[in-house]
Symmetry: C2
Subunit: 413 residues, 2 copies
């Protein structure tokens, strides 16, 4: 039987203790934010924290902040507060630079510890930036890139026993298809290769178990579900067995074992701290810290269960309310097989036009080529009732064909 | 005849039109900030701008900000507003990542356009992070590192005609000795090598002419004299003759010629935009933009003239008021031969203890091994009268030997 608006309210009441929306800013009144896959919500504390660091740090303490405040410790302390979300120990994780730069560092690191192997396996349709990072390495003659269409081709790609690292998105940025880390890691390891996971579309949305799945390396975007703020620095994870395996490709003073000794020679810091390079982005880290303080208190299993309830509900509502309207659920129907967002395929209309029509009716979603429309579901702030309203708005856009408005014919970013 | 406090006040009146301290926060009352070589002052507009981007961008517009606000344009627009300070055209410059990461990118870029040459020449005592970047490349087998003691050894190092790039600090981070770019570029080019300049201790302090001196590549810290905020992103400069010379080493979607086309294959963006990699640090860029708007109106020659007057005065005051107190001016006495700060050598006392005693008496300075104490002079906000007070405080610390207090025996960062 189809869920009603009332049912959604009942569900929200049942899940009330896991609703942390009171810790975040609600945003613009009347707007439904289904874009946590792009930028997660802002913690309520972020503006005050930012004022504090601007006034007390930058304006008043100035240079003294480096030693008297926590500026140099932030890459470590931020990581320690979110490590449990991805099944890692605090010492396995560091927060620094951006995701693509970290993808570069970890690919190079995998190649260093796997010498003389130099083959990188990747999915052809991985998020473009990850592919560009690898193409750059190939163009420099540092790797041989072996692209596969999907995981059915993985074993064949691994068969020559020459693969250094398999670099995969945990969750596809269009369909939200989630790969099974443990199974794939086992296949990768059986052929002597390492795994490098991009968690951008799963970290902070669903429970991840990097240690339990025996993952080697991982990166994640910090500003999507993790709510680190627009352009926030990124996560780096290194399994302890590789923690001291090699020098990083990009050596810098913040990754030195004793930065302010100003040693003549580089010596890598312990574990993933070697992946720090230059001065940390203090203001960005201050914003991220307000989210990290919320995450510190979050039980990943409770988060995951709430996210499952929300996305199961969304899929149910899409099935029941949008049947016959030219859209179909693209994401897997089993929660363990999908990531943070739910995608629909737009069959009868351009996904970008439908997305823009939804944005015009105050439902913030995004489209990706060729025909995916994405609803980013945040496990701490989205409610079942909001999902009811979102699907109502989608049905309205499709029924009225409001997406045909020429205003909506451009591309969406 | 020795300058008096009154003379300093007269000088301030003479230079009043170039004093932009009203555009910046004064900081803590009674504190004298001589640390622009570490963190420049905060523009008055920074807190309001940050609140605006947090509330209207992150909290309200969320994902829409990518297309509706200037978030993706900031690396370009920031660069365009400061390019004239370093003698560059807007199209030559980009603001992204941190200085050490950019040092890595430009070293690799120089090697790409200079193939098969693979020798990097550097000063042995360059800022450690720059040396670590090069040591990392050497450890990976990508370069041969040739260290020189100083510029008297440059021609010999270049003589084998195998040098790809000479990577130099424009201004020494301890002594403030400034190298002559034009002369050195000519020597470098005569042997078919490229120059890569680190402007961290000169950009935003003294006038720089990258184009006029025929410099090939440059990076600069953004948070010292340029006032971009703690951990601000860094400048990348590429001379137009190399702008489209090769792929960057670190390829990412933001450096792609058409980011949101999500092309299968990487194609570098025009000129230095190829050195963008991942998502820009939006909050950091917003802070930087308040400084960039001030810089846009600053005439580099007027800035340089004021900085000369300030640092000439500081050196005069040190000479006249601290004679016989166990310190001597270490920085060159000709303005064109020194950078943003003035360093003294502490002969009779540990520089770090003297620095900490000064900080305790509200004069914010820093020390560097073995015996340099640095006064960072900001060309827009420091006054001659402040310099009088600073030197009075130094004389007091030295005369009273207050630096002997055990509190001041630790290292300074």
């Amino acid at each position: 039987m189809a869920l009603t608006m009332h049912d959604c309210k009942v569900l929200d009441a049942q899940w009330a203790t896991t609703d942390l929306s009171h810790r975040f800013t609600p945003g613009e009144p009347g707007v439904l934010y289904m874009d946590a896959n792009s930028i997660g919500p802002m913690p309520l504390d972020a503006p005050a924290r930012m004022q504090q660091i601007l006034q007390q740090g930058w304006a008043m303490a100035r240079r003294r902040s480096w030693s008297e405040l926590d500026w140099l410790d932030q890459p470590h302390s931020l990581a320690a507060r979110v490590a449990h979300l991805i099944g890692a120990e605090p010492a396995d994780v560091m927060i620094t630079d951006n995701t693509s730069v970290n993808q570069y560092k970890l690919l190079r690191y995998a190649l260093s510890v796997q010498k003389p192997r130099r083959v990188v396996v990747m999915e052809r349709d991985v998020f473009p930036s990850n592919r560009y990072v690898a193409q750059g390495l190939q163009s420099a003659g540092l790797v041989d890139l072996r692209l596969v269409d999907d995981m059915t081709q993985l074993d064949a790609a691994l068969a020559p026993d020459d693969v250094a690292v398999v670099s995969l998105s945990h969750v596809d940025y269009r369909s939200s298809v989630r790969l099974d880390m443990a199974t794939i890691n086992a296949r990768v390891h059986a052929r002597g290769a390492l795994s490098l996971w991009d968690l951008s579309h799963s970290a902070g949305a669903v429970a991840i178990d990097l240690r339990g799945s025996d993952s080697d390396l991982a990166v994640s975007c910090g500003y999507k579900y993790l709510c680190g703020g627009p352009g926030a620095p990124s996560l780096v994870y290194v399994h302890p067995r590789w923690a001291d395996g090699a020098w990083p490709a990009v050596c810098g003073w913040m990754g030195h074992a004793d930065t302010f000794a100003f040693d003549q020679d580089y010596r890598p810091g312990a574990g993933p701290s070697r992946f720090l390079v230059g001065t940390p982005p203090v203001l960005a880290n201050a914003a991220f810290s307000t989210a990290a303080e919320i995450w510190r208190e979050v039980d990943p299993q409770a988060m995951d269960a709430r996210h499952r309830s929300l996305t199961d509900t969304l899929i149910h509502l899409l099935d029941t309310q949008c049947a016959g309207l030219g859209v179909m659920v693209e994401s897997p129907r089993v929660h363990a097989q999908r990531g943070g967002h739910v995608a629909i395929r737009c069959v009868d209309a351009p996904a970008s036009a439908v997305a823009q029509a939804l944005v015009a009716s105050k439902v913030i979603v995004s489209a990706r080529k060729p025909d995916s429309l994405r609803f980013g579901v945040h496990p701490l702030t989205t409610t079942h009732t909001q999902l009811w309203q979102v699907v109502q708005a989608l049905a309205q856009v499709l029924q009225s064909a409001s997406w045909r408005d020429p205003r909506f014919s451009g591309p969406t970013i």
